[in-house]
Subunit: 158 residues, 2 copies
């Protein structure tokens, strides 16, 4: 892994490592939901965690694909899926992201792009939005698990 | 703002901008809690949002101070505080972080450090942990607000 330049907070390869660490933790949260609650249980009128997990699938790998070649249309359909389906798609996307990420041109992260045909921003901000959105909803998943009397994983386990 | 080198995902100054955007959103979430629920209301046996907010105060500005000069002991006490107290400390820390951040040596983020006398890691990972922990707990605050029938701010408003 090349050492980044001095005026750099984090390199692209280290950022992917962070992201995949978050995705491993989110995967454990998905796994901990009982099948029958995955697409039904919620607190305060919010969406079930299964719906949030499909949203995360529709953002992560498709964003990486968009950064590689400008194709923002590779997301799965937004309809609810079983936990087993979500986990299978999750694992396929993990491999896909690892394969695609090194193909993103080095200067791409500082370019202004339009993601998914509507979100115009600097590429690094688009990526951070996707990661932050995952951390945000996973935190909500922790509350759902606690409300179901299930102990969530430690936040620092990646 | 200098343009970062090509093998860089995000520059230190842009990272601070992201972080302060998150902190502005978290501040709005704190503000939305009714005073009487801030340190009492919780879901699933978890901590009240007031306790989480004090934890965030104990991590953010003290981490920046530690990155500047190795002093990891500038955090406030962990005892519960009123919403007004937390907001006042929050604003003081926003200014402090903006002032301290540019004083972090440019190569510091790639160094291995021991934060708060016990967490040994690369500095950029320590910083991301603090930010991710804030996003995680703020997501939980969103659930608490919804359970209290209060509409949280849009996630993308920073």
């Amino acid at each position: 892994m090349p050492h980044p330049a001095s005026d750099c907070f984090i390199s692209p390869s280290a950022l992917l490592e962070q992201w995949q660490g978050h995705r491993r933790l989110t995967r454990r949260v998905i796994e901990l939901f009982p099948d029958e609650q995955f697409n039904t249980f919620a607190v305060g009128g919010m969406r079930p965690f299964g719906t949030m997990a499909v949203e995360l699938l529709r953002m992560a790998a498709p964003t990486v694909q968009g950064l590689v070649d400008g194709n923002w249309n590779t997301g799965v359909a937004g309809a609810p899926r079983s936990k087993a389906e979500v986990l299978a798609l999750w694992d396929a996307d993990t491999a896909k992201m690892n394969e695609l990420w090194p193909r993103i041109p080095a200067t791409r992260f500082q370019e202004k792009l339009t993601a998914f045909g509507q979100y115009e921003d600097l590429a690094y901000r688009l990526v951070l939005y996707v990661i932050d959105n995952e951390v945000h909803h996973r935190g909500q998943g922790y509350v759902y698990l606690r409300a179901l009397n299930i102990e969530p994983p430690h936040f620092w386990e990646r």
